[in-house]
Amino acid sequence: MTQFDRRHFLGSGLFAAAAATIITPERALAGASPAGWSLAVADVDADVPEETLQLVHGKVPANCDVTLYRNGPAKFRRGTGTSGHWFDGDGLVRKFRVGDGKAHLTARFVDTPKRRLETKLDAIVQPGFGSSRRDGAVVNGPDDTNAANTSVLMSGGQLLALWEGGSPAIVDPETLETKGFKTFRRDLKQMPFLAHPRVEADGTVWNLGGNGKGTFVWKLNPDGSLGKAEMLDVGRASYFHDFTATARHLIIVLQPWVQEGFKFPLSTAMAWKPELGTRILVIDKDDLSKKRTYELPAFSFFHLADGWEESDGTIRFDGCLEENPTFGQIAASALLRGEHIKAPSPMLTQIVLNPNGKADMKTTRISAEFPATDRRRAGQARRFTTHVAGYRQTPFPHAIAIWDWKTGRDDKFDFGSHQLVEEFLFVPTGSGERDGWLMGTTLNLKERKTELHLIDAGRVSEGPLATWRASLPLPLTFHGTIA
């Protein structure tokens, strides 16, 4: 097969992965009882109709009027088959609505061709990041395998369920009903759109799609219309799940986890080549042909936080950097089998791109993931990064924290080993960078229920101001948005 499916098909972030042969997994905890944490990757069999959550702790601030949308995979098993990777389950969009002192939850699966086909066959057949193509699979374009399971974006009043290898799916923000895939322009059907768009304070959205040697740059205007759509040569077929930006520049981090051909599962088509080092491209938002390049020692990563530029041209951004991609290559697949393969911890690290062309890394030595910031400050200097923390015996974090880059300290609350902590997002209530709440969810393994928490962002270590509990456990989400 040629142009259609080999060189370009799914020529995207999802569509690259690892030569498992070069990885030597340390199955440190393989065989340990999966009884507890495996609820994090359990199946949900049906949509969740709206329910009122039970307030189990604290008091709801009177002025709290927030909707949190979250997305994550929630169906991994059908018939006798199981998805090959945590990243390949069907996306379940959850809406947590807090207002009038009450909280409500609704959750609905994104109605994708993949989900419809697999429901009909009662089998897991579609290929993905870590899943093979099985009998009955139908793959005639990226959106046939689209799991719509990674994040959500509100753009121009439209709620989009994001994956990374194909189109966003349009979801009704009230009912969560799927309205088909979003086509920004007729000739841009089936184009990859990463699940990590960078949103400027005015609502302008920048995103990338696809990670062959060329990627695609998307710019959406604040009203959701298409502002820019251009191919960009990045020179190396690195896998990237995320990128970042300053007010003036896009920053693309090219880890040496590179695509070498095309095959399913996609995670077997990429090789870890640390000898190449990690390359960082800085691209002018107004003229994509203007590029600068920085070189750093090899690291792998999934997530970055917003960047900014100082008056002398120094660029700073942070991310959760890993020594190698073992987690994405094999450990995230093992989770679905109830196995915990120890992978290098992601470390919260600041990357500094100096005007002299040299780049530096400043690690906090803090194990962290899901960095989040005050979105009003996108592209501007900031002092804090919110992150999950408290990695211990399970593969998942147990704490939420805000790192202070000035003092070099975390303000942290540990929910305990019975709680698996998901991404928390910042909800501003005042002008300061800590004037607001952190809102996020956990999976309480003791109660076997999902919980929603509201924390004072200025006093994280004091724990939640309010905690609500759902009637059921939902598997862990990846990302969300505040509306």
């Binding site: 097969m1 040629t2 142009q3 259609f4 499916d5 060189r7 370009h8 098909f9 020529g11 995207s12 193509r133 699979a137 139908v138 793959v139 005639n140 374009g141 990226p142 007729r186 000739d187 841009l188 059907k189 089936q190 184009m191 990859p192 696809g210 695609f216 191919m231």
Partner: protein
């Protein structure tokens, strides 16, 4: 996918080389091909008809081409004077009227396409074995959902 894209190539480049008149002389069968499920009522349905596995797989020419205005949800064409036998059809909806299967910047086809028997391809065109159907002497009808 060479073969899918060859639908348009074959139509655009080989059409002139086929003489429907000469084929018609020995024919004893008529085939009505109905295309249904057309969502965007513009452009045309373009198709190619093959009478052998080799030709279907790109090692030969089609015996007929189809070009029908796609102005309704269902459109049809009559192929007169076919020899009875086994055939298969590849078709796509040329919405923008450029006579080509349009692609996105990564080369992915973005116009609806279909095969006879509504056979489904897998990272490529449907197989001959799945798409082939018999045309008997006299009147025949074959329906294809194009999506």
């Amino acid at each position: 996918m060479n073969n899918l894209q060859s639908i348009c190539t074959v139509i655009a480049m080989c059409a002139a080389s086929i003489s429907t008149a000469s084929i018609a002389q020995n024919a004893a069968a008529k085939l009505d091909v109905n295309f249904t499920g057309i969502e965007e009522k513009e452009g045309a349905i373009l198709g190619v008809v093959f009478n052998s596995e080799d030709a279907y797989n790109g090692k030969g020419a089609p015996v007929r081409q189809i070009m029908i205005s796609a102005d309704k949800a269902e459109v049809s064409t009559a192929l007169e004077g076919l020899e009875p036998g086994v055939y298969a059809i590849k078709a796509f909806h040329d919405i923008d009227g450029d006579m080509k299967m349009s692609t996105n910047p990564y080369g992915m086809p973005i116009e609806p396409f279909a095969f006879s028997n509504n056979a489904v391809g897998n990272m490529g065109p449907a197989k001959w074995a799945d798409a082939k159907f018999e045309v008997k002497p006299g009147a025949n009808v074959h329906a294809i959902v194009i999506k």
